[in-house]
């Protein structure tokens, strides 16, 4: 059933069809809307699991289940899709998180209550996310990459945080959600517009090395790149343009400032999807596009990316220590974790890139769960101020327990999912690709290691403030409802995933390793 790209196309577009169906259901019939959305997301997830079973792990470095069809002939952009070992875990991750997001939403609708529109947006988002991970044509990739913006924009703007804030610089007060939504969109659009220029520049020069036929095909472009045919200032500017687009999305310091606002303002499910999957689009693009197509330039930029990544790690950790808002703290911790992912990529070694991918998956499940928890807690306490929280463990033992577990996973405790990504990317930095400055990367490794200590610091600090101690007088006499069935249904799979990846990382490495080794070998001859 996965022949000729049919299965893969279904995984990508089934949610979009679902969005159309949900849209057609009358507004009053919420139960049916929820069932339909869950059914479509569920079938998509099952398909992606079947895909993972049908995947030939012996040939993980080749694109499988692909299709190559005419799309826009006038500019020779084609509908090319396929998965290899690098994208497979991310495809499964995004269908998985989508289902959980819908399950969690079942009884937790953010204000203003409007399940129909919310579900439609989640489903459209799902198409954009999986589409980006399977697209093998730059224009197709660009379209999917952008498709995720609109649903997230509306999600933040409609269901977001309604607290008034004063916008820095402009000195105007507005609601948090409005500020965050437009900031999120403008930052990403700014980056991706330059990214598009980079893609076009590749396209126009590709003809010279491809028998006169300009192409957007990532595979063909990678082959040209491997042969080292692009060079000089041209490839510098192209890499810079694409870097801008991807780095905003990751986000890398200093382009990260949209992220804390977007995360804090977004409704719970929005934050979860944003953290768990949207951020990975950027790092994935580095691995899939920047490194193979412009390997020489990637070598030149590696030190710069590494330095920015480590600045991001330290900066984010320090910023976390200064937060009073629990959700904002988790948002900043995302910047730090993505810093480890980028450090892994910057080493340009197979260990580093494997670390990056498992780091992405682990960050997806861990931070996704953290945002779920933060959302549920602020729903109950009606505040996210850590100073007012406390004694959560006593008030809601189950939720407190899960929070403690997830915080441990997030700080990289061995045996849980977060450990592998951080540990291995530091390991890779000890021994970066030949030709990169060993001294610099070892320094980065040491500073990054300090970052893990800081991460432990802020997460334990958060636990101490939120979970431990006696409940403050404010909550005396309040009855708190501990984790309900929908929350349990959404969180239990994540807890299991964190444990499973932590104990048995082969779940991810089994798919990625061959693909990564081949990628590094082809691009950098290592």
């Amino acid at each position: 059933m996965f022949d000729n790209g049919w299965g893969l196309s279904l995984i990508v577009f089934l949610p979009l069809v679902g969005a159309g169906v949900v849209m057609a259901i009358p507004k009053a019939n919420e139960e049916l809307q929820k069932m339909t959305a869950l059914a479509f997301a569920g079938v998509t997830f099952v398909l992606s699991v079947l895909l993972a079973f049908a995947f030939d792990y012996g040939a993980a470095d080749t694109y499988q289940f692909g299709a190559d069809l005419n799309w826009i002939t006038a500019i020779n952009s084609r509908y090319i899709i396929g998965v290899d070992g690098i994208s497979l875990p991310l495809v499964v991750l995004s269908t998985f998180i989508t289902v959980l997001a819908i399950v969690y939403s079942w009884e937790h609708w953010p204000e203003p209550h409007n399940p129909k529109a919310f579900l439609v947006l989640i489903l459209v988002l799902a198409t954009g996310m999986t589409g980006t991970f399977v697209a093998l044509d730059l224009i197709l990739f660009f379209v999917f990459f952008e498709v995720v913006l609109l649903p997230m924009y509306f999600m933040i703007g409609i269901w977001g945080d309604r607290n008034e804030i004063t916008i820095p610089v402009f000195k105007r007060t507005t609601e948090m959600r409005l500020y965050a939504a437009i900031k999120f969109f403008l930052f990403t659009l700014f980056g991706s517009a330059f990214m598009l220029l980079g893609f076009l520049a590749l396209y126009f020069t590709s003809g010279d090395f491809n028998g006169g036929v300009n192409t957007f095909s990532i595979e063909v472009l990678s082959e040209i790149g491997r042969a080292g045919l692009w060079g000089g200032t041209f490839s510098f500017w192209v890499f810079a343009a694409m870097f801008l687009g991807f780095a905003v999305k990751v986000p890398m310091f200093p382009l990260h400032t949209w992220l804390p606002d977007a995360h804090t303002a977004a409704p719970t499910v929005g934050s979860v999807l944003l953290a768990a999957i949207l951020l990975k689009l950027g790092t994935y693009a580095f691995v899939r596009i920047s490194l193979p197509i412009l390997p020489d330039e990637a070598r030149n930029w590696a030190w710069f990316i590494g330095v920015l990544a480590v600045i991001g790690i330290i900066y984010a950790s320090l910023a976390c220590l200064a937060q009073t808002d629990m959700k904002r703290l988790i948002a900043f911790s995302s910047v730090g974790h993505m810093g480890f992912v980028m450090l892994g990529i910057a080493t340009l070694t197979d260990i580093g890139i494997n670390a990056a991918i498992i780091g992405m998956v682990a960050h997806g499940v861990i931070t996704g769960l953290l945002f779920f928890l933060a959302g549920s807690m602020s729903h109950r306490y009606h505040t996210r101020e850590m100073a007012r929280l406390g004694g959560n463990q006593k008030l809601m033992p189950v939720m407190g327990g899960i929070l403690g577990f997830t915080a441990m996973a997030s700080l990289g405790l061995p045996g849980l999912a977060g450990f592998w990504g951080e540990f291995m990317s530091l390991l890779a930095a000890f021994n970066p690709l030949e030709g990169l400055s060993q001294g610099l990367f070892r320094t980065l490794m040491v500073i990054g290691a300090v970052g893990t200590v800081l991460a432990a610091g802020y997460l334990l600090w958060m636990l101490q403030k939120v979970n431990f101690g006696e409940p403050s007088e404010e909550w005396a006499g309040h009855e708190f409802h501990d984790v309900d069935q929908w929350e349990m249904a959404a969180w239990a799979p994540l807890v299991v995933a964190i444990l499973a990846i932590g104990v048995f990382p082969r779940i991810v490495f089994g798919a990625t390793n061959d693909a990564v080794v081949q990628l590094v070998a082809k691009a950098f001859g290592g």
Partner: protein, 503 residues
């Protein structure tokens, strides 16, 4: 003289329709029928456009290929056919938008459709014109009737201002255009574009010729409202009846661009350094100034006015990029293709945007953005369409506008060179700025609360007249489908590039 009536059939049918509308207006029937006759006539004149286009696969059709009439001055090729299709479609949708509007108050209807169809006839003629005189006649036939249409709300001072301003600027620009054309004719001794191109080879350096070219371009700069010749646009757009604004911003603007295309790529093909440089500046200014002023607007129609200035700037980018000296014919074809494709997509999305504005205005009376707050709560369908059209104008995938922006960037990078790439970078920055104000309208409709000043009965809603529903449906389907399958439009655009590398 042997006349190819098949080639002229669209114009003939349209001219007969114009007369028929006048006759129906005299008959003792509902004025509504004048609109029906107009729509029917546009539809009928679209048929020969199709038969001419698919001539080789039709049995009764002989003499395929490019049809040249009246001594090189009138040509029916794929370029003119595609644009005739756009003009007829644009006029069709404009009439659909007008029906409900004109019925809603005591407007003269028969005369209105007569004028609109005459203007459309001018556009259809313009698409085929290949000499200065036919071009000028076509262009003035497009513009003349719109002076009157802009002032259709006679009791409203703003509408009067709109018409008067438009008239004065229109006449001045016609004078400048004519002056430029006369210089060109004086120097080259030719009026046909091919003749001018051949004659220009030896006199490229002659200052008088350069002056003629520049004046001709400036005349068109007024028509396409390029900065700094844009001052009439916002006032006219705001004051004119909204369906007329829609028509002006799509059909009339497109007519200006068609004139520019044929002049630059055909008549002045040897003078790329002059028109390229001039339009480079106009493109950069139009995008930047149009966008920056649009950011400050609070009235949606005025905002769309400035947005159309900026969009015009995007369409000029490929012209400006063509300034690069070593551009090959294939690269110029890319640039030509980009402008035409942008124009085609822009026509759909801008008409759609105005259709939404008319529908919302029908309910809320005002086009002030503040009053549109919370639209999504009581009119989710309209709010959704508003988001689709405005975000398409902003160029967000997967709505059709992204492809227009893509081919525009593509043309600039295809030609390459410092100036072209600089213009592409300016365009990228402007695409981002543009998003900010389109999003402002979307934000008002989706995120803001309903203003307390709106009376409850307006929230309960009035139904949208069927003609407007039809126009909305047509444009929304086009914008969404073309976003996913832009190949359809791209193929049409590809067909038009015939004469760019034809020599």
């Amino acid at each position: 003289m042997n006349i190819d009536y098949h080639a002229l059939a669209p114009e003939i049918i349209l001219a007969l329709t114009v007369v028929a509308v006048l006759v129906v207006d005299l008959l003792p029937v509902e004025k509504f029928w004048t609109a029906v006759v107009g729509l029917g006539g546009l539809f009928l004149s679209f048929i020969p456009v199709l038969t001419l286009g698919f001539c080789e696969s039709l049995e009764f059709c002989d003499d395929t290929g490019v049809r040249v009439l009246f001594g090189d001055s009138y040509v029916v090729d794929t370029f003119s056919l595609v644009l005739k299709g756009v003009f007829l479609g644009g006029a069709f949708i404009s009439i659909l938008l007008s029906v409900g509007y004109l019925e809603s108050d005591r407007f003269w209807q028969g005369e209105y459709y007569f004028l609109l169809l005459s203007s459309a006839l001018g556009a259809v003629v313009l698409a085929s014109s290949r000499d200065l005189i036919t071009l000028f006649v076509g262009l003035e036939l497009v513009t003349g009737p719109t002076f009157l249409m802009a002032g259709w709300r006679k009791g409203d001072a703003r509408s009067n201002e709109a018409a008067l301003k438009f008239f004065i600027i229109g006449v001045i620009s016609a004078a400048i255009l004519l002056f430029g054309m006369s210089l060109v004719y004086g120097v080259t001794g030719e009026t046909t574009f091919t003749g001018i191109r051949l004659a220009s080879a030896g006199i490229v350096d002659q200052p008088l010729f350069t002056m003629g070219v520049v004046f001709t371009l400036l005349g068109f700069a007024f028509k396409v409202s390029a900065v700094p010749f844009h001052f009439w646009t916002p006032d006219t757009y705001e004051g004119a009846p909204t369906p007329v604004t829609a028509y002006l911003s799509v059909v009339s603007k497109a007519a200006g661009f068609v004139g520019l295309l044929v002049l630059c790529y055909l008549a002045f093909a040897e003078l790329r350094n002059i028109w390229g440089a001039a339009l480079w500046i106009l493109a950069a200014l139009s995008m930047t100034v149009g966008n920056l002023i649009a950011l400050k607007q609070t009235n949606v129609v005025r905002l769309l006015g400035y947005s159309s200035i900026a969009q015009g700037g995007f369409m000029l980018v490929p012209f400006g990029a063509a300034v690069t000296a070593g551009a090959s014919p294939a690269q110029l074809e890319d640039a030509f293709f980009a402008t035409v494709t942008y124009l085609l997509i822009y026509a759909f999305m801008n008409l759609g945007a105005f259709a939404v504005v008319i529908a919302v205005r029908n309910r809320l009376v005002t086009a002030e953005m503040d009053a549109w707050g919370g639209l999504y709560n009581y009119a989710p369908g309209l709010a959704t369409m508003l988001a689709i059209f405005f975000l398409s104008l902003a160029g967000v995938p997967p709505l059709a506008g992204w492809f227009a922006k893509l081919v525009m960037f593509r043309s600039a990078l295809s030609i390459g060179g410092g100036w072209a790439i600089a213009l592409a970078v300016i365009a990228v920055l402007n695409a981002v700025i543009g998003f900010a104000y389109y999003a402002k309208v979307v934000k008002a409709a989706w995120f803001d609360p309903i203003p307390e000043a709106i009376p409850a009965d307006e929230l309960r809603g009035r139904s949208i007249v069927p003609s407007l529903q039809f126009a909305l449906g047509l444009t929304v389907v086009a914008v969404v489908l073309l976003g996913f399958f832009p190949d359809v439009i791209a193929r049409l655009g590809d067909l038009t590039t015939g004469f760019v590398s034809g020599f």
